[in-house]
């Protein structure tokens, strides 16, 4: 096996792992019963999905151009900065609208 081909295997594996986690996050959106539980899909399972895709992209372009390609890191950084904020705003809006909650949910959200 030549040197470039094992890098390609690693990149392919990373892309597959990333797509798998993005898929699982989307399955969560369909499957989970109420809005608050559905929030967990996009904030988490997707983070690792995008993370793996980004590492794959860094490896591919670094290998192709021969010099390190790091600007993909910014995608991860901005994702980490924005994902919690959007989840927080969605949760706040959902509580304000008093959306239906799964009956077995323990604890109460407070009134806005």
């Amino acid at each position: 096996m030549s040197e470039s081909s094992w890098v390609e295997w690693v990149i392919a594996a990373l892309l597959l792992i990333g797509s798998l986690f993005a898929l699982i996050g989307s399955i969560g959106l369909v499957k989970l019963p109420d809005f608050f539980m559905r929030l967990h899909g996009p904030t988490k399972a997707t983070t690792l999905g995008v993370g793996a895709l980004v590492v794959g992209s860094m490896l591919y372009f670094s290998q192709k151009s021969g010099e390190p390609s790091l600007h993909e890191l910014l995608i991860t950084l901005f994702l980490f900065l924005t994902a919690p904020v959007s989840a927080h705003m969605l949760a706040k809006a959902a509580m304000h609208e008093k959306l239906r909650r799964e009956p077995r949910t323990r604890g109460e959200p407070w009134d806005q």
């Binding site: 986690f21 790091l70 949760a91 323990r106």
Partner: protein, 168 residues
């Protein structure tokens, strides 16, 4: 001192902007360094009014440790949530949990809230008006008290050491 403070009101923010600009350009060259330096001076200066009470990090080494720990936890949390999503949904035990905050600074509270959203099966939903309680929604909570203890030990305590080690 005061002149330096006026030119660079937030040195850490400036430094991260300089590095961020190099990443955005995807190379380090004289031109991108100069442009980055101009932006690193201008942007903190222009946004200064939005930081009435800037955070002070006194233990930067601890901050580094904290970031590494959170990155590892994010991977673990992703695997856990993936397992929960694919598993049978009757076994999920969703819950709203009240987390009594002991952090006081707005910045460290928002870092904690973001960390909670990114890590194990929890999303921070709201903060009380007096900023003493955080409302957390958990996807699968077995024991509320254990969850609160876990967050306190693993995330809140280190953040406290980084940002609130001394009252100046």
């Amino acid at each position: 001192m005061s002149l330096l403070k006026r030119v660079l009101p937030h040195p850490w923010l400036s430094l991260s902007m300089l590095i961020g600009w190099q990443l955005l350009m995807n190379q380090v060259s004289a031109g991108s360094l100069i442009m980055g330096a101009i932006l690193a001076c201008l942007i903190p200066w222009m946004t200064n009014v939005f930081w009435p009470n800037p955070p002070r990090a006194c233990r930067v080494d601890r901050l580094f440790l904290f970031v590494c720990r959170v990155l590892i936890d994010i991977v673990v949390a992703n695997l856990q949530v993936a397992k929960l999503i694919l598993g049978p949904r009757r076994e999920l035990r969703p819950a709203f949990v009240l987390f009594p905050l002991t952090l006081e600074h707005e910045f460290s509270i928002s870092v904690l809230a973001s960390t909670i959203s990114l890590t194990p099966g929890t999303v921070s939903a709201d903060i009380s008006a007096d900023r003493k309680t955080l409302l957390i929604h958990g996807l699968d909570v077995g024991d509320e008290q254990a969850l609160i203890e876990h967050i306190r030990r693993r995330y809140e305590q280190p953040l406290k050491e980084v940002f609130e080690c001394s009252k100046r």
